[in-house]
C-alpha cells in the first residue's frame, strides 16, 4: 500500500532497501550460522547517513523523527533483524541523551552517533532486573568529581561493539525506583569490561553481552539529567524505541511473506504451483493482511509520537505488541508454506522464525506491553470519571 511518503522518506526507504538487498541478503546466512557481527554493513549504513535519522540537524543528524527511523529499520529487517537490531540498538542507546541529556552531552555524543562513527548501546537489564527494573543492583556512588560504578548489566545489545553506553544504576537504593540514575559510559573507561558473547536462538548476527563495572570511575558530567531520574529516562526511552521493534516485526513479516509467495509460485505439487491451491492462498492472504495491519499501526503510532503528544506509552506499546505477534505468526506460517524445505537452513524462513521470537520478549515482553496498555486504560477512564 502507498503511505504517501515524502520524497525524503522515499530516499530513506530506497537507501535502506539497497543496503538490505546488496549487502545483508548475501551475508545473512553466514552471519547467522557463525554469529558474525555486521561491522561492515553498519559501516555502509553510516556512510549512507542512516544512523542520524532521528537526531536533530544541529547535532549532525538528518532531523527526522521516529517515523524516518522506522522506515529504515523496516527495510533492513526485511533482510535480517539481527542486523537491524544492531542498527536500532544504537538509537536505543542515544535516546536517553536526546531525551534528557545536557546541551554539552548532546554536543559531545550525538554527532558521533549520528555519523555512525560510534554506535551506542543501552544498559538497563540485569540478572535480577528484567521486567522488574526496580530490582536493579548496579550502583553509582559520587566520589568527588566522579561517579564510581559497580555491578553487571546483562544481555546488552551491541555490548562490546558500541563505543557509547547509556547505563542505569542506583544512586540511592533506599529510594527504590526513584533512586536510579542514568549515566553515559564510554568504552575503554578503566573498570568497564564485557562478559562473553551470548549464544542465542536467533538474531545471531547481533552482539549480546554483559557490561561489567568494577570500580569504574566516570566524570560527574556523565550523569544524564538529575539523580533519581534514571527510571523516568529509561521509560521515556523505551516509549520512543518500541516503534523500532514494531518496525522490525513489520519488516520481518514482509520478508517472510515475500519469500513465501516467491516459493509458492515456484513449488509444483500435483501438477501445479502450490500457490494455485486455496489452502496455501488463504495462508498467504492472512499473512499479507496481518503484515499490512502491523505496518499501518506502526506508521500511525510513529507519526503520532512525532507530533510530540504528552503521553505516548500506550500507543508505543500498541505497535510493539501487535507487530511482534504478527511477525511470530507470519514467520511460523512461512515455514509451513515451505513445508519440509522451510525447516531446512537452505531457505531463509527457518532463520526468520527463530529470529521472530525475540521481538515478543525484548524491550518489554508482550505481557508487559499489555500491562502498559492496561494501566493506561485505567488512568484514561478514571480521568473521564466513568
Amino acid at each position: 500500500m502507498d503511505y504517501f511518503l515524502t520524497e525524503e522518506q522515499q530516499m530513506i526507504r530506497d537507501t535502506a532497501r539497497e543496503i538490505a538487498e546488496k549487502k545483508i541478503v548475501p551475508a545473512r546466512a553466514e552471519m547467522d550460522a557463525k554469529g558474525i557481527f555486521p561491522t561492515e554493513i553498519l559501516k555502509v549504513c553510516a556512510e549512507s547517513d542512516l544512523f542520524g535519522l532521528y537526531i536533530p540537524e544541529e547535532y549532525g543528524g538528518f532531523g527526522g523523527g521516529i517515523f524516518e527511523n522506522v522506515i529504515a529499520i523496516e527495510e533492513l529487517s526485511k533482510a535480517c533483524i539481527g542486523v537491524s537490531v544492531s542498527f536500532a540498538g544504537s538509537g536505543l542507546g542515544a535516546y536517553p541523551i536526546l531525551i534528557s541529556g545536557s546541551e554539552e552531552q548532546k554536543k559531545k555524543f550525538l554527532p558521533q552517533i549520528a555519523s555512525g562513527e560510534q554506535i551506542a548501546a543501552f544498559g538497563l537489564t540485569e540478572a535480577n532486573a528484567g521486567s522488574d527494573a526496580g530490582g536493579t543492583q548496579t550502583t553509582a556512588k559520587l566520589d568527588g568529581n566522579e561517579y564510581v560504578l559497580n555491578g553487571t548489566k546483562q544481555w546488552i545489545t551491541n555490548g562490546g561493539e558500541a563505543g557509547i553506553y547509556t547505563v542505569i544504576a542506583m544512586t540511592n537504593k533506599a529510594r527504590g525506583s526513584r533512586g536510579a540514575s542514568a549515566f553515559i559510559v564510554e568504552k575503554g573507561t578503566p573498570g568497564f569490561s564485557f562478559g562473553k558473547k551470548e549464544d542465542k536462538m536467533g538474531i545471531r548476527a547481533s552482539a549480546t553481552r554483559e557490561l561489567i563495572f568494577e570500580d569504574c570511575r566516570i566524570p560527574k558530567e556523565n550523569l544524564i539529567g538529575k539523580e533519581g531520574m534514571g527510571f523516568l529516562v529509561a521509560m521515556k526511552t523505551l516509549d520512543k524505541s518500541r516503534p523500532g521493534i514494531a518496525a522490525q516485526g513489520v519488516g520481518l513479516a514482509q520478508g517472510a511473506l515475500d519469500e513465501s509467495v516467491k516459493y509458492a509460485r515456484k513449488r509444483v505439487q500435483f501438477g501445479k504451483p502450490v500457490i494455485a491451491f486455496q489452502a496455501v492462498q488463504h495462508m498467504l492472504a492472512d499473512m499479507a493482511v496481518q503484515t499490512e495491519a502491523a505496518r499501518a499501526l506502526t506508521y500511525a503510532v510513529s507519526k503520532f509520537i512525532d507530533s510530540a503528544p504528552k503521553d505516548i506509552s500506550k500507543a508505543s506499546a500498541f505497535s510493539k505488541l501487535y507487530s511482534s505477534d504478527v511477525a511470530m505468526k507470519v514467520t511460523v506460517d512461512a515455514v509451513q508454506v515451505f513445508g519440509g524445505y522451510g525447516y531446512m537452513k537452505e531457505y531463509p524462513v527457518e532463520k526468520m522464525m527463530r529470529d521472530a521470537k525475540i521481538l515478543q520478549i525484548y524491550e518489554g515482553t508482550n505481557q508487559i506491553q499489555r500491562n502498559v496498555i492496561g494501566q493506561a486504560l485505567i488512568k484514561e477512564y478514571a480521568k473521564r470519571g466513568k
Binding site: I12, E18, E47, S48, D49
Partner: protein
C-alpha cells in the same frame, strides 16, 4: 585535480526485447540506467579525488534532456557537478561524432587531469569512445584499467587487465583511461548525496556552447552507416560427445564426415 567521468545512459538491457518485424530495440517502458561500467568509472573518480585529498569530479554525458536524471544519480554517488551535452544537432551520433563532441566539451571544461570512462557501454558495446576521445585530445590512453596503483597531479601508474594477466603502465597526465569492474565496489548513494542531487542544477551545453563544427556532430558527423539490424536466428542444439578421448575423436570424425564438413 579535475577528474571528468563520462557517463552514458543506457536501457537496462536485461529487459530490452527486439521487435522481430522491424528488428529495432523496443525501448518503450524500459527503465534507463547509467551504463554499469560507467558506475565503476564514477566510483574510481571519487576514489582518486579522495586519495589526492582534493579536486573535483565532473560527470559528463551526451543525450536527450531526460539524461539529467542519470546525471543527478551521478551527483548522489559523489560527483561534484554534472554537465549534459544536449542538442538536436547531436542526435544520431556514432562513436566518431560522440568522441568529437565529448572532446570539445572537455576542451571547454579545461584543465582536466584525468578522464575516466567505463570500458564500454552495454548497449553498443563498441569500446571506442574512450580511445577516440584521447586521440582528439592528443593525450595518453589506457584501456581496461583494473587498478590505479599510484596517482599524483603529474602521473599515474595503473594495471591494465589483459587476457592472461595484466600490464603495469606509467602514464603522464592528463590522460584518458577506461576501467573494468574489478577496479572497485561502487558505493551505495547515501542520504546526503541524494539530497545534494535533488537540489543540484545540471549544466546543459548545446553545440554552440562547445564551439562544435556542425559537420562533425550528430548524424552528419557520423561515418558509421547502419544498413541492417537483425536478431540472429537461434542456433540449433549443440551435441555433447562422451567417452574416452579416442572414442570422442572417432565419433567427431564420423559426424564431420557424415555432415560433409570434411
Amino acid at each position: 585535480m579535475k577528474i571528468v567521468v563520462c557517463i552514458k545512459e543506457v536501457p537496462a538491457t536485461t529487459k530490452v526485447k527486439i521487435n522481430p518485424e522491424t528488428n529495432t530495440l523496443m525501448r518503450e517502458g524500459v527503465e534507463s540506467i547509467i551504463n554499469p561500467y560507467d558506475v565503476y568509472a564514477l566510483e574510481e573518480g571519487v576514489c582518486v579525488k579522495e586519495r589526492l585529498g582534493g579536486g573535483s569530479v565532473v560527470a559528463l554525458s551526451m543525450g536527450p534532456p531526460q539524461v539529467e536524471r542519470s546525471l543527478k544519480e551521478a551527483i548522489s554517488l559523489g560527483a561534484d557537478e554534472a554537465i549534459l551535452l544536449s542538442d538536436r544537432a547531436f542526435a544520431g551520433s556514432d562513436t566518431l561524432a560522440t568522441s568529437y563532441t565529448l572532446a570539445m566539451a572537455l576542451d571547454k571544461i579545461g584543465d582536466v587531469g584525468l578522464v575516466i570512462c567505463g570500458k564500454q557501454a552495454i548497449d553498443g558495446d563498441t569500446a571506442q569512445v574512450g580511445p577516440e576521445m584521447s586521440e582528439k585530445l592528443d593525450i595518453p590512453f589506457v584501456a581496461c584499467v583494473r587498478k590505479i596503483l599510484e596517482i599524483t597531479e603529474e602521473k599515474a601508474i595503473v594495471e591494465r587487465m589483459t587476457d592472461d594477466g595484466y600490464d603495469v603502465i606509467e602514464l603522464p597526465l592528463p590522460a584518458v583511461i577506461t576501467v573494468v569492474k574489478d577496479i572497485n565496489t561502487p558505493r551505495i548513494a547515501g542520504l546526503k548525496g541524494k539530497m545534494r542531487a535533488k537540489k543540484a542544477r545540471i549544466t546543459v551545453w548545446t553545440a554552440t556552447d562547445i564551439n562544435a563544427d556542425e559537420e562533425r556532430i550528430g548524424l552528419t558527423g557520423s561515418t558509421t552507416k547502419v544498413t541492417k539490424v537483425f536478431a540472429p536466428q537461434p542456433r540449433g542444439l549443440g551435441m555433447m560427445l562422451e567417452g574416452s578421448p579416442e572414442e570422442i575423436i572417432d565419433s567427431l570424425y564420423d559426424h564431420l564426415k557424415s555432415g560433409h564438413v570434411i
